[in-house]
Symmetry: C2
Subunit: 226 residues, 2 copies
DNA sequence: GTCTATATGTTGATAGAC
DNA sequence: GTCTATCAACATATAGAC
């Protein structure tokens, strides 16, 4: 297998990999600029022309990397999902399972969202007329919700939450709470960080509210997984 | 004072009122088309040209009624606020005060939002690059929150909710819950009605969750204001 | 208050040379 | 894989005739 560490990079079988890597670098750079544009001027203000302008190339050249503007949005949606997933996984990595992990994961999602408002809007809202993520990209998004449900089931098993918390509706209520925090923060105080945002500061409060709603019978109001 | 019921409508002092009324009708018709365009193609897809096209006039003519495209958005924001307020006031009109009124108002906000998705997106999100409502329009939006806070204080007074429910943070948590329900519904199942939406169906559940979070000391988990 | 005409700018996308 | 050239369309907004 050819390696990108080859000492003779321009020869023979090493080429295709090098080409592919270079190509991927260009794509990544293009997406970096796309995120910057959306952050500065709004998610709906992205244009192929502006991306090309910032890269110092002509617009037609970008069509070698993306089939269309929608293709760019789709790549951005996928990148957003991956980035968010990485952030969450890094946060929960060594945490205890169950309620604790749910809380830490929730904090991570909110923190990632305010740190990446452009991508977050693309994931949580539908701000671009006519754009919907392609099925294969959207599939990852569904996968993520399955993991949340599994963790809720674990919390039930541990006696931290009532049995109802393993239902589909509980997952929905969880997403309602998180997307509420994120939406209100992005819409009403866009510049703030996780610590300074008047809505993001309520993340733990919101999670408490969610957990209390599923307090197991006989248990007291415990502040789970603090 | 001249009346629009004047039997001699084209004479003298009656004219300015008739002119003003006719002008307002044209503006309203223009905004109707604007809402239709946003509903069909997304909030960000509104153009002066398309509005004119649907009205059967030329684009320049519309500039006699609106100073710019942003002016149209501002008028739409104001219309959305008024419409939502009317819906809520009609719903709570004869209800008991306190927790009951909060619950009924919340249902009304969610129902109005899924029935008016375009205007709701304009109010709850910031989907249009560079558009922010003008200060005087936005002021009404703040007024509304003050009313929510007053009703929460009333619920505290009645012993329905704990004292903390009168804090600023409680109002924020309330808006988090509502905007969460609305955001998730609009983003993930846009076509649904209040009754068929998998998220809007959880409105009462979400309000229960909110109320339980502020259960007064000594009180049991009551389903307030059902 | 409507129109035509126009200035001025933008975009997404393709064809084809190099 | 980059470019030039170009298409076809669309936009916001203004000037000025009627």
């Amino acid at each position: 297998m050819a390696t990108i560490y080859s000492s003779q990079p321009d020869v023979g079988a090493a080429m295709p990999d090098r080409r592919a890597a270079r190509r991927q670098e260009t794509i990544d750079e293009a997406l970096d600029h796309a995120v910057a544009i959306m952050t500065e001027h709004g998610v709906g203000a992205l244009t192929v022309s502006e991306m090309a302008r910032r890269m110092g190339i002509r617009a037609p050249s970008l069509y070698k990397y993306f089939p269309s503007l929608r293709g760019v949005y789709d790549a951005l949606f996928a990148r957003g999902l991956r980035s968010q997933q990485r952030a969450v996984r890094a946060a929960i990595e060594e945490s205890e399972r169950g309620a604790t992990r749910i809380r830490i994961g929730a904090r991570a999602v909110v923190a990632w969202s305010v740190a990446n408002p452009a991508l977050a809007q693309l994931l949580f809202w539908r701000p671009v007329p006519g754009f919907e993520p392609s099925p294969e990209v959207f599939h990852h998004s569904v996968t993520e919700m399955v993991e949340v449900q599994a963790e809720l089931a674990e919390a039930v098993q541990r006696g931290e939450l009532a049995a109802r918390a393993a239902d589909d509706d509980a997952v929905r209520l969880y997403t309602i709470v998180l997307s509420g925090v994120i939406s209100q923060q992005m819409a009403n105080q866009p510049g703030a960080t996780y610590d300074t945002g008047v809505f993001t500061r309520l993340t733990d409060d919101a999670i408490d509210m969610f957990f209390n709603h599923y307090t197991p019978a006989g248990a007291d109001h415990a502040d789970l997984g603090q």
